[in-house]
């Protein structure tokens, strides 16, 4: 917080601004200018960000490898139509986050804490920190897998990830952070390029939209597939991130329409790039692709190189580095927002590190902690990476239920509360996610204690 005092000004009838307010007002003045002069594309350019970042941030290392594994093991049939459905679900959830952030100007963590009590606030923050830490480890693993293709080791992966976190934080402005990460996130399109380079049969891709039945395999494998694929599209960090980032960006109710465009564009891009990874992975189906599961070393880029040429392997490896790097930035940011909001101190990229010490420390600290894990010799990285999405799916219902409650809170949202149709879809999504997560959790547990066979 700045040295200016926060008191009511008798002239303006509004509080005296802090430095954070001044930085945000600079961004808002550009939005007002674009709106007043009816510069629609410029306005769109100024207001996009949180939605695209949440969606493309979730196309992270584990997710892209999960999609490619699905393609390599089962082909295109079930997953090509399933991925767009999941991103449509993600759109419904993320639109609520954006709307609540724009209307209340507050992050998810602080609203839950203040509106529903400390227990829920800290429960949500704890749930988020656990899943974020596990996911961040998986992101560093993804960068390592991508770099291994170029014969670079863990040290380079850690240095790259941490350098990016520190570099993006060094501007003291939300706008600067957002634009750098947006620029990086667009390289998620490398997975689409990889799909083109493997020269898929266009007819096969088109006919896969006919939605074939569930892929074969044991019940537990199916549940794992569903849980991990859901965990690859909707996660607790996205909810925290988009609401807090929308508030930090300074969005207001008049920007909700553009916020919806931003979220929809993010969902479409993420679905297209996710299908790209799936199609690239499916090129391995006829070449014993089932042997390449999860994070089995640098298997994917190498295998693609043998099947579709060095170009496809290189592009896929670079895509993994990008997916991991962008997710490290967005997931660290969501942890930092949650930490600042729950502790009740300044939590904005528009504040200086001195003014928002907890925010900046959490941002770097959580990335450092995850980086330290991947440097531990013999750490179970493969298991951590594979379970990251599943854990996120299991813990997701809490975040979703509280999000729907916030979006229906007339005291907070006024006329911007959810419509009945949004509630119906939201509740269906929660039930679906809860059932898949619970079914996998219970089935795996019963197998682990040998009550049922696999």
């Amino acid at each position: 917080m700045s040295t200016r005092e926060i008191t009511a000004s008798p002239l303006l009838h509004q509080p005296l601004p802090t430095d954070e307010d001044l930085v945000r007002s600079h961004d808002r003045s550009r939005v007002h200018h674009a709106r007043r002069h009816r510069r629609h594309w410029h306005l769109m350019w100024l207001l996009v960000g949180p939605g695209i970042l949440a969606m493309l941030g979730e196309n992270d290392g584990p997710s892209m490898i999960a999609y490619a594994s699905d393609g390599a093991q089962y082909g295109l049939g079930f997953f090509v139509p399933f991925i767009p459905i999941l991103f449509a679900m993600a759109y419904v959830c993320q639109e609520m986050c954006m709307r609540v952030g724009a209307v209340t100007h507050r992050g998810y963590g602080e609203l839950v804490l203040q509106r529903y009590g400390r227990v829920w606030g800290w429960f949500g923050a704890g749930d988020l920190t656990l899943t974020n830490l596990v996911t961040l480890v998986a992101e560093f693993v993804a960068i390592r897998v991508g770099l291994a293709y170029f014969h670079l080791g863990s040290g380079v992966a850690v240095a790259l990830g941490l350098a990016l976190v520190v570099f993006t934080l060094s501007g003291g402005r939300y706008w600067r952070w957002e634009r750098i990460v947006l620029g990086l996130a667009l390289f998620n399109g490398l997975f689409l390029l990889a799909a083109i380079l493997v020269k898929p049969h266009i007819g096969a891709v088109a006919s896969s939209f006919a939605f074939t039945p569930f892929p074969g395999g044991s019940f537990n494998t199916l549940l794992l597939l569903l849980a991990s694929t859901i965990g690859a599209t909707v996660t607790p960090w996205m909810i925290f991130f988009q609401q807090s980032a929308s508030a930090d960006k300074g969005m207001t109710p008049s920007d909700v329409r553009h916020g919806r465009y931003d979220t929809a564009v993010g969902a479409v891009l993420a679905a297209v790039f996710g299908i790209g990874a799936l199609v690239a992975g499916a090129a391995l189906l006829a070449h014993d692709g089932s042997g390449i599961q999860g994070f089995a070393g640098a298997g994917f880029p190498e295998a693609l190189k043998h099947v579709a040429g060095a170009g496809a392997g290189t592009v896929f490896a670079l895509g993994l580095v990008e997916a991991g790097a962008v997710a490290i930035l967005t997931i660290s940011a969501s942890t930092a927002y949650a930490a600042g909001e729950c502790v009740g101190v300044s939590h904005s990229f528009n504040s200086s590190p001195r003014g928002a010490a907890v925010f900046y420390a959490a941002n770097v600290g959580v990335a450092l902690l995850a980086a330290a894990v991947i440097l531990i010799p013999g750490a179970p990285l493969l298991s951590i990476a594979l379970n990251a999405n599943v854990l996120a799916t299991v813990l997701l219902p809490v975040s979703l239920v509280l999000m729907v409650m916030l979006a229906n809170d007339r005291g907070l949202m006024g006329p911007w509360v959810n419509r009945r149709s949004t509630n119906a879809i939201g509740i269906t999504v929660i039930a679906f996610v809860g059932l898949c997560g619970a079914a996998y959790g219970i089935d795996s547990f019963l197998q682990a204690i040998h009550l049922i066979g696999s």
């Binding site: 917080m1 040295t3 200016r4 005092e5 926060i6 303006l12 509004q14 509080p15 005296l16 601004p17 802090t18 954070e20 307010d21 001044l22 945000r24 007002s25 600079h26 808002r28 003045s29 939005v31 007002h32 209340t104 100007h105 507050r106 602080e110 609203l111 203040q114 509106r115 529903y116 009590g117 829920w120 429960f123 749930d127 508030a247 300074g250 207001t252 300044s346 179970p380 298991s383 379970n387 599943v390 854990l391 299991v394 813990l395 219902p397 809490v398 239920v401 809170d409 005291g411 907070l412 809860g434 997560g437 619970a438 996998y440 959790g441 219970i442 795996s444 547990f445 197998q447 682990a448």
Partner: protein, 85 residues
């Protein structure tokens, strides 16, 4: 807020230009700040919102959700630890 200190004439003269700059900057800041809605100010968002009144049914539902998530979460963590062995 820092207390104002009286300035000497020389100090007034030497600070005339910076003072003009300062006034111009403050005017610019005042114009900029008009673009923020009142409830967007840090001073406003720092004020906590009131606790939501929850019905007994909603409270029971939230407790059931808490128990459900803790139980299933523990199952997943147990399975994960078992896999490590």
């Amino acid at each position: 807020m820092s207390a104002e200190t009286p300035l000497t004439d020389a100090a007034h003269a030497s600070s005339a230009i910076p003072e003009r700059d300062l006034q111009a900057q403050e005017r610019h800041e005042d114009e900029l700040i008009m673009h923020l809605e009142r409830d967007q100010f840090v001073a406003e968002t720092s004020r906590p919102v009131a606790r939501a009144p929850l019905s007994a049914r909603a409270r029971a539902g939230l407790w059931a959700l808490r128990v459900f998530v803790v139980l299933v979460g523990l199952m997943v963590i147990y399975t994960f630890v078992q896999q490590l062995h």
